[in-house]
Symmetry: C2
Subunit: 98 residues, 2 copies
């Protein structure tokens, strides 16, 4: 399970949103992805909740090999190349079931 949070540079215009969402949609066509959730912060609001990020990208893979294919896939590399100027921070949490 691969969960990525993106903090985009401000101001985040609706043009930038459309562009970035198109990018995420294209990115997640990579064929080794078996589950995905593309999101933005919910309106929940409690002390422990971090809603400062701009976009959330949750991906699941069948196994580590499939995630490795994703990491070096041309579509992924193109996504980074085309969109990395839009974000100021990215945090990734990879986890495995216990």
């Amino acid at each position: 399970m691969h969960h990525v949070y993106f903090w985009l540079k401000k101001p985040i215009t609706s043009e930038i949103r459309i562009k970035f969402e198109n990018g995420m949609n294209e990115l997640t066509t990579i064929e080794t992805i078996v589950g995905k959730h593309l999101g933005t912060p919910a309106t929940t609001d409690r002390g422990v909740i971090d809603s400062s990020y701009s976009y959330s990208l949750l991906l699941t893979f069948e196994n580590k090999e499939d995630q490795d294919i994703y990491q070096t896939h041309p579509t992924h590399l193109r996504f980074i190349d085309e969109y990395e100027d839009l974000w100021e921070k990215v945090v990734v949490y990879d986890s495995v079931s216990f």
Copy 2:
């Protein structure tokens, strides 16, 4: 989509792990949960990856009302009451599809 990351206080013994994992398993029997993933950090290692957390808890709900039921459910309140001494930090990311 409700993703919670727990940083347990160190040292994290195997007894504490068993106790906390049992707690997470009990917590996630709450009936409004439709999807769940209980995890620990993967062994992936790149600059953007945060693998400093101890446990990851991903929950999905059918709708906001079902998440609200979870938040105030006796099993959830008991989990917090019984285990909050074990963690030093919790970060929650709630997100909705775009």
